[in-house]
Symmetry: C2
Subunit: 177 residues, 2 copies
DNA sequence: TTGTTTGTTTAGTTCGAACTAAACACTCAG
DNA sequence: CTGAGTGTTTAGTTCGAACTAAACAAACAA
């Protein structure tokens, strides 16, 4: 492999690393994906350690997260104790997986938290002096709640569409290629 | 104002703070928006300092970012040297602003970075021993580049739609309310 | 001019996420 | 059983984003 090809690979990995970091994921996670993505053969954990130069522990935890999100896939080879990894190449699938994940955990919590605040207001609507303030707060909070509900159902709809006829949407978006 | 109303406000602000932090913004930024959002009157910088309990500098920088993204708006009152702020209540507008921002800065860079790596490969396509590897890298990189292009034009399209007939899309999404 | 009121910028600090090193757990071969 | 090869977990460290305190700048009043 010539220097330039290696440089191109490194540049690419660094780029992916920046992107993932910008979107709130660890930098190493992006670097690991980049390395797996640029491998024609399944990669082992130790190969990634030497290629990227981070510790075994970091690769272990990061690649587990990548797998959980469906960004890489584990490939078991019979009679071999090592875990091999290959990259998911369908990026819309990846986006879907990430949306699902974010959806599930923190987003629900956000919606609940707002609902809770509204409830706190409503529970005391009788014995309150400053009814006007409470009413205003409630109005605003409900405004945000509605937005969350709409966003939630929008994402849910997109995911459902993608589930049912998974290729249609993708083909529209990829029509140029 | 009774204790419960204040508690509800604090709970709400804390919730917004968590959300913004989750999406990669400073926690204080969310808290500041929460406070402005739950105010019927325009708010000053110093009021926010006392309400939220962060330093003046932090409020200053955070609220400037909020304004840049169109999440809050400055309201100048003639004959008053203070800056007053009010919250944007159209959350789809806010999303639009954030998309625009992210679009502009880091996303372009990501696309460029990948393009650069591809160029690095192609420039040396003649004097390379391991043509097979280079070709594979190129193929994969172009795969990601296509995805970025599509995502880019998808967002651009959404923003354009929103610009042209700004209320149609919103009304569809808000039909429930 | 000087003093006051405001927002901004900067040097230094804090704090948490993500990393490293190393102990650990598991599986299999011999 | 022991020892080698593998992935995981954990205690401690690093590093950068975001904060604080305080100096600064700008606008105005007196």
């Amino acid at each position: 492999m010539t220097g330039t090809v290696t440089e191109a690979k490194e540049n690419f990995i660094q780029g992916v690393s920046r992107i993932t970091h910008f979107w709130g994921f660890p930098k190493a996670m992006g670097a690991i994906f980049g390395a797996v993505y640029l491998s024609s053969e399944p990669v082992t954990l130790d190969e990634l350690v030497t290629q990227i130069g981070v510790s075994k522990g970091a690769v272990s935890t990061n690649i587990r997260n990548l797998e959980r999100l469906g960004i890489v896939h584990k490939k078991i080879i019979l009679g071999d104790r090592k875990d091999y990894y290959i990259a998911e190449t369908d990026f819309w699938k990846i986006v879907k997986g990430i949306l699902r994940e974010r959806e599930k955990h923190e987003f629900d919590h956000a919606i609940m938290s707002v609902g809770e605040s509204i409830k706190m207001l409503e529970e005391d609507m009788d014995n309150i002096e400053d009814l006007k303030t409470a009413a205003f707060y409630r109005e605003r909070m409900i405004g945000l709640q509605k937005f969350f509900d709409n966003l939630d159902s929008l994402v849910a709809t997109l995911l459902a569409i993608d589930d049912i006829k998974s290729n249609v949407f993708k083909n529209i978006l990829l029509k140029k290629s």
